[in-house]
Amino acid sequence: MSQVHVIVQKISDKFDLVVNPIISAIKGFVQEVGYIALFAGQSVRLLFAKPNRYGEIIKHMEFIGNQSVGIITLTSIFTGLALSFQVYLGFKLVNATDLVGPTVALGISRELGPVLTGLIVSARAGGAMAARLGTMRVNEQMDALDVMGINTKQYLIAPRIIAAVICMPLLTALFDFMAMFGSWFLCTKLVGLDHAVFMSKISNTVEIRHINEGLFKAAIFGFMFAVICCYKGFNTTGGAKGVGEATNGGVVVSMVSIIILDYFIMNLIRIYYLIAGIA
């Protein structure tokens, strides 16, 4: 009996050794998600609170939007070129090269446009947000705002969230346009497809709702990366090391979240179309 007891005890110890870290990791994850949701809720409550922060919103829009135009333009053109070439090679095998344009257009407007824009902007602007807020935290600048009677979330966080939500669809629209320009250039100038066929196939297939889908997703991605990066920066502890960790954490969590959330939003949109009876 005592031998059985020992074996049971050993199994129990091994089980604890394996399960406890998993449980604590899940607990930590759920807790973190809860804190981020709470942070998002508090920030959203302050989005339209007085005093107005139009100046701050425009300043952050300039940073998130205007300063991302170059990188978005460059990456989108090459995304369009590369994607079109791969699709062209595949469709050539089945003599369906006429469909390269609409396939790329649908893929870009619904998926690649918002997702790649989200990833690029969260890495560039989200990382900078987390680093900036983290530096303000460790340098006591946030404490200074607090003791000046300024609501730090209203002053620092809410304008960044609004700016990201406004800029992301605009940048995604730019991405879509430039990627399709890249696609058009490859198809009509490099591999010799007909311009009229390329354009007519796209206009027959792609509807405005496909583009809107992508823009809607982009706004959600903007909200998400702004909240996550601001949360990480706002709660920075531990000096320069902490700022580095906050920046890294903000960017990684934002990027992973964008890719995961994209799948769920895509399905929600499908369900909406089914309910609304849209083909």
Binding site: P51, D146, V147, M148, G149, N151
Partner: protein
């Protein structure tokens, strides 16, 4: 007739604070800071000076006890009321905590732009320039960024910003920590001059610098292990037989 509480700018009444629910950082702090005085809070590292300060600023809420500042019980104020109430403070941080993307002048204008919205830009700048002049900062530095001026100038700018709203309570959080002796003396003199120039303003200085604490402060409060060990004038400290006080006084003061 002035009540007992009205004599004091800050009252901490049996304030206890724990962050983890087990270990108490403050174990029942009783503290009264008279209005218009320059009071210095001293103590070894880790004795709870910063935690006491953050309670006075309403940045921390006590686990138990009361915190009264200018007759308002901070523990009863909600977050929005507390944020508004903080206009009564001016704080000079250890690092000066200037906003690094704003110039010296813009840093001083900032609290005025936030809280004196009825003023024009020209009026705000005039007040900011007056405050910068008061702390003795050469006007040629007004349009420089904080990274382009020295540590002493940053302290002056930080003090000018703290004074911008004419606060009733001025708080200096370890203003001379990490500074060289000459700069330390300059900052000490600046604190004393600022206090004398503003009768009625209560100044509270948290410091390791005993020369400043005993040299310029009207009252000194010594914390140890989350409690007030001794409070009184410099004379009370010199006369004290408490061993910790003796060690602190003997080793800390350069005659």
């Amino acid at each position: 007739m002035e009540s007992n509480e009205q004599k004091y700018a800050v009252i901490l009444d049996d304030v206890k604070k724990t962050f983890d629910g087990k270990e108490f950082v403050l174990k029942g702090v009783d503290l009264k800071i008279p209005r218009g005085s320059l009071t210095s809070i001293i103590g070894f590292s880790g004795t709870g000076k910063s935690v006491v300060l953050k309670h006075m600023l309403g940045l921390y809420r006590p686990t138990s006890g009361r915190v009264l500042v200018l007759d308002k019980e901070l523990t009863t104020l909600d977050d929005d009321a507390l944020t508004a109430f903080r206009c009564n403070y001016g704080v000079l941080f250890q690092s000066a905590a200037l906003f690094d993307d704003l110039t010296v002048l813009e840093n001083v204008c900032f609290p005025l732009e936030e809280h004196r919205r009825q003023l024009t830009k020209a009026q705000i700048e005039a007040i900011a320039l007056e405050k910068l002049k008061m702390v003795g900062l050469d006007p040629k530095h007004n349009h420089k960024l904080p990274s382009q001026i020295s540590g002493g100038m940053q302290k002056r700018t930080g003090l000018a910003r703290a004074l911008a709203l004419d606060p009733e309570i001025l708080i200096y959080d370890e203003p001379t920590t990490g500074l060289d002796p000459i700069l330390t003396e300059m900052v000490d003199n600046l604190i004393l001059e600022t206090h004398r120039a503003r009768p009625g303003t209560t100044s509270i200085m948290v410091s390791h610098d005993l020369n400043a604490a005993f040299g310029i402060a009207d009252f000194v409060v010594m914390l140890d292990a989350g409690k007030v060990l001794l409070s009184g004038t410099a004379e009370d400290f010199y006369k004290s037989d408490l061993e910790l006080v003796r060690r602190f006084v003997d080793k800390g003061i350069k005659h």
